[in-house]
């Protein structure tokens, strides 16, 4: 089969995968698809465009920041060293981008059944492998193509053809290795999530893996905040290298590419032997990338043809028992079970962890102890994340359309459950902030209480964000939202949660400005919370339909 023909068929398979992913992302989509198919197609297109925009922005930002490292202050290393480190940094971050931004797509590729039809056609094993890898590549094509084209192009313009060639080989190798790692990890997770291992350890492994992945995904979105720090660390690191250090580091991925690009741009370094070790390293990693690319086809085929084991095939039958709980508890338990068994769904658990990472600089910038403004900023961050947490919980509903269709679950009950789960995260975050404020030598002992008084607002934020998403994405009915596939809802949720959560904080701030009394400001905040709750409980149910 010709490459052009394979490429065209791979495009059809990739489109089908995206389409199925969209349908499966929302239980309501299946029943209502026929009502306005054009609307669904527009939604798929627009969410794809927004995701592509974010991907372009992230990779452009990474490229520019990495190249800019070379021209940073002379206080840290030589231009050669800074370029070597900037290149290496870009390749590491590219690996992270390709790996984390495509993890859900990859597991979706395994389970979508999009390769089922080609498997029944008279195609050779080699053709099938080629088709599997091309389809997979077309799903990953946006970040992969951008990484392979943008960074080498910028390098070509600024440093000339030879460094650009090194950048091209380095980027291609990185993409190939990331794809290989991605397939292996997704395969491992697939087996894990197809196993009802009753050991607690297995559950812990699943949660830990999900948590790591989610933090990785979040890290990509906030990577720009950390680039200057990373550059400084890498700069200091390169400056501290001795001769042996140079030789050793230049053999390691991705530093080989960085060292070679630096030498191509600025001539041989002081330790000229490191150029040759870098050339050897580049050749070895380039070959490894090529082998990884070739083997990816075999691995993909083994997965899409259903060749993965079900580890509990011989397990004994258990006793038929039944546990009946309150509907809201049952909904929450179901959601939490799904959360620990699906990649990406564990977003919720990562929120407080990530909040600490983001808040650390906020508490450090205030000298002389935490002020009311510190508290307001910290609480605003927590409000922002609570909207994202709610989306994480809505992601749980990507399964079970057939069951959901037959059950008497009111949309409001569903929303209240999701908001209650989100509130648990919010309470944890508020306690954390109260603790951090207490430890930050606050100018008033009452300041940490702002976080405690804010706690009920978490439920109001959940109801508002969820209610609005149900209204605009589901016509008032319960919908599932896929964060990675529909980034427009992330922006909407962040804006809403910031706005709603700000109501009590504005009350607090205004009264504090007017009176200068923390006690009055706290009373105003509490009143703000009560008014907010009353308004939300009154108006949000009106947006919903059963």
């Amino acid at each position: 089969m010709k490459f052009a023909e394979k490429w065209r068929i791979a495009g059809v398979i990739a489109s089908e995968m995206r389409f199925k992913a969209f349908l499966e992302a929302n239980p309501g989509n299946v029943a209502r698809m026929k009502e306005d198919p054009q609307k669904v197609m527009r939604q798929i297109k627009s969410s794809g465009q927004i995701s592509a925009f974010f991907t372009v922005m992230i990779i452009l930002l990474l490229s520019i920041m990495s190249v800019a490292t070379t021209f940073a202050s002379d206080a840290v290393g030589t231009p050669y060293e800074r370029m070597a480190m900037g290149f290496s940094l870009f390749l590491i971050l590219s690996f992270v981008v390709v790996f984390f931004m495509n993890l859900t797509s990859t597991t979706g590729f395994f389970t979508s059944g999009a390769m089922d039809l080609p498997l029944t056609l008279p195609m050779t094993v080699k053709d099938l492998e080629g088709l599997a890898i091309l389809s997979f590549a077309r799903v990953l094509i946006a970040p992969a193509a951008l990484i392979i084209s943008v960074f080498p192009t910028i390098t070509l313009v600024i440093f000339g053809p030879l460094p650009a060639l090194v950048a091209l080989v380095g980027c291609a190798t990185t993409v190939a290795l990331a794809m290989h790692a991605l397939i292996y990890f997704a395969r491992w997770f697939y087996v894990k999530t197809h196993t009802t291992d009753k050991s607690r350890l297995s559950g812990v492994v699943r949660v830990a893996a999900s948590l790591g992945l989610v933090i990785g995904m979040l890290s990509i979105y906030s990577i720009s905040s950390y680039i200057p720090t990373l550059i400084e660390i890498f700069g200091s690191f390169s400056a501290s290298l001795g001769t042996e250090g140079y030789l050793m580091i230049s053999l390691l991925y991705p530093f080989s590419f960085g060292f070679l690009a630096g030498a191509a741009a600025f001539g041989p370094p002081a330790v000229s032997l490191s150029v040759w070790t870098a050339v050897a390293g580049c050749a070895a990693y380039g070959a490894a990338g090529w082998v990884a690319f070739r083997r990816s086809g075999v691995n993909l085929r083994s997965v899409v043809t259903g060749g993965l084991p079900s580890l509990d095939a011989d397990e004994d039958a258990g006793e038929v028992t039944l546990n009946v709980r309150r509907p809201m508890v049952a909904l929450a338990r179901k959601d939490l079970k799904l959360a620990t068994r699906n990649i990406g769904s564990a977003f919720l658990f990562a929120i407080p962890v990530f909040l600490v990472v983001v808040l650390a600089p906020v508490f450090q910038i205030w000298e002389g102890g935490a002020r009311s403004l510190t508290a307001i900023m910290a609480l605003s961050y927590a409000n922002l994340f609570s909207g994202l947490a709610l989306i994480g919980i809505l992601m749980f509903d990507t399964q079970g359309a057939s069951i959901h269709a037959g059950l008497p679950i009111s949309t409001y009950l569903s929303l209240r459950t999701k908001s209650a789960i989100a509130s648990a995260t919010y309470i944890f975050s508020m306690i954390l902030i109260a603790l951090l404020l207490t430890l930050s030598n606050p100018v008033s002992e009452l300041i940490p209480l702002t976080a405690i008084i804010q706690i009920p607002a978490g439920y109001a934020i959940g109801l508002t964000v969820g209610g609005m998403l149900y209204k605009y994405r589901g016509g008032g009915r319960a919908v599932a939202v896929n964060l990675t596939g529909d980034q427009a809802v992330s922006i909407l949720s962040v804006a809403l949660s910031l706005g709603v959560g700000a109501v009590p904080l504005v009350c607090y701030g205004l009264v504090l400005l007017a009176t200068g009394m923390h006690l009055y400001a706290l009373i105003a905040q509490a009143l703000g919370v009560i008014i907010l709750m009353a308004a939300v409980l009154r108006f949000v149910p009106r947006w919903l339909v059963d």
């Binding site: 026929k34 197809h194 546990n323 009946v324 079970k337 069951i403």
Partner: protein, 278 residues
Amino acid sequence: MTDTVWVHHSELGMRENNCMSAVEVRDLVKSFGDLIAVNDVSFEVREGEIFGLLGPNGAGKTTTLKMLMGLLDPDSGTSTIFGTSSQENPLEVKRNVGYVPEEQQLYDSLTPKELFDFIASIRQLPPETTQKRLRDMVKALDFEKYYNKLIVTLSQGNRQKTMLIAAMLHAPKLLILDEPFSGLDVRTTKIMKDIITIHAQSGGAVLLSTHVMEVAQGLCQRVAIIDDGNLIAQGTLDELRNQAKTEGATLEKVFLTLTQQEEEVQEGVDALRGALSS
């Protein structure tokens, strides 16, 4: 309320109809853009009755059932289940109905046990009687060994069994089954047919859609035939035979006559014969 008299049940048997309607569909219309999927369809399913909704692919059967369940809003017309409007009170409708949709989108990450726990909790079923009912169904459907496995690992037939158990867990008065026998093995199909019959004999009602004419002929007291969204005919087999003027014919023959597909089928077979022999 129910004084059903069973007359005959070997093939589309008839019965007295002086009992309450389980399902009432009146002048239902639903369009998807320019396509009229359901056009002015009316029928009634009585208590104690097994009613079959027959029609070719894309005829509008599933759309009709989804409107009945309150999952789709009709453009016009009404549908009620035990007097409750599907559009005005879909939650009450779902409380009274056991529904098996055509597509099998379960919670893949749960086990059947976890799924049944969830359903029993949502429906607030009494634990003891429900557990006994569950045990009986699991045993009857030879499902014990799959009870604690993840649903994603189950075969299509076992997923269908999961859906059937889930739909009957609350012993509903009405079963709405969209292609309920797809993917089931012979043993399970026979058991399911018997369960449906027993359910109806106990006063419950069943509305099922199927492509399999033998199933409809052996199981249903009355059927409605839908084609291109229009209701072509409804009644007992004898009534349909009279309408189609095909005395003694099978339901398949009656169906093809009423939907005017006999010639089309013959043309299709001839074309295929030509294609396969060339």
